[in-house]
Subunit: 173 residues, 3 copies
């Protein structure tokens, strides 16, 4: 069953996903940023810093690389919007920890039915290029694609970003 | 001229293309599965098995890696829907056999004008990533892209899958 | 502020971007082709020749690999449509020359506010595949993605090509 409070924002690299999702969250009294990313290297660290600077002081930031199903119910509230940035990094973290990703996906989707407030997921669409040479990359895009389908199936709204502009793929409004 | 009975379902890896196309075909009395894939390796074999298990016993499966223009007229019928899964594997097979792909594409498109029943093509969009390093991959995505344009031009409906949800790009309904 | 005379046509490899943009430009008395591409190798040279043959004798072709902000104001006119093909090659050229791409992007966007006639930009969406291994390719898709967002923000119309068919992402008509 579609959850009106759940939104999925999908898009490619530098397609304006985060900016669009942030604007949605900033309409709430309390925008909460749930960061799944870990600063593995300098490039990643500077990208995280850039995002944080852009968001500004109204935001509360929580870092949780793995346990989304445990964290989201604690953060969600009627006066807040929780922005999860992003699902693809979550999948990466789960793969690094050799978790059962199908089970983790089910756990996440189940928790979405009982949240006390809205949540916006940002994720990278990575499946529209040539089949990657290495098996890890193929597994990653399979996991990400399945996760996107599962979340989209219960989401109230799904947007696909093109050059900073949302194409609305699904809407319950 | 657009053929109302021809549908093209495009999408990335794990975007829900096959599932969506299967649901379309299952509305027919006789869903027919025209498989173009060959089990080159274990990964491919298990993907083929997974798809077959999902379809279930109502389906008839025909395997034809190369001669779509010869096979489709024999299978198409008013009480059936033929699901061709997928065009990108067909292009791969044609390249392996060093066929003239422009000529094969023309042959396929020509046969679509005279079919006795509906057909649904599934294919992978592979042209939205970085230009691949190797020439074979670049040739492949050029062939696939041209084929998609040709089929879309005569199709009655074209859908682009995003996270399991169809965005309707073209519709004659 | 959106400029009604500015159009962005985005799409993957062999998605019909150029053909669609050419059809737009050919409605003008004077279609002008502003080529940013350089024939680095035989594959590129033959692609350029193929495009030129398709356009035919009504077209005037101007080659400018770098200075779009200086060239567009000279070419734009009420009875012409300038087709810029393509922005991704422009970004490639700027990277080769080690230019400041953020500054060049700003310069291009600024010049769009004062043009005397319509312009159509063609560009490749390259950000929807797996994250590339090499840093140069990642930088390229970041630059291209940011540029697309900037141009789309001021464009009157943005189209995303799927199998030769435009999905209209933004329209001021």
């Amino acid at each position: 069953m579609a959850q009106p409070g759940v939104t999925l924002v999908l898009g490619g690299a530098r397609s304006g996903k985060s900016r669009f999702a942030e604007a949605m969250a900033e309409r709430a009294d309390r925008p909460l940023y749930l960061a799944t990313g870990r600063a593995w290297d300098g490039e990643m660290a500077s990208r995280i810093d850039e995002h944080r600077d852009r968001r500004g002081p109204r935001w509360t930031t929580v870092e949780e690389p793995l346990d989304l199903a445990g964290t989201l119910p604690k953060l969600a509230a009627p006066d807040a919007v929780v922005l999860v940035d992003c699902l693809t990094l979550w999948v990466t973290n789960l793969m690094m920890e050799q978790r059962d990703i199908a089970a983790e996906t089910r756990g996440l989707v189940q928790c979405l039915g009982g949240l006390a407030g809205p949540v916006v997921f940002v994720s990278n669409e990575v499946g529209l290029g040539i089949v990657p040479d290495n098996a890890m990359a193929r597994a990653f895009r399979d996991h990400a694609g399945r996760l996107h389908q599962e979340v989209a199936a219960v989401a109230g709204a799904v947007h696909f970003m093109v050059a900073g502009i949302p194409m609305t793929v699904k809407s319950t409004c």
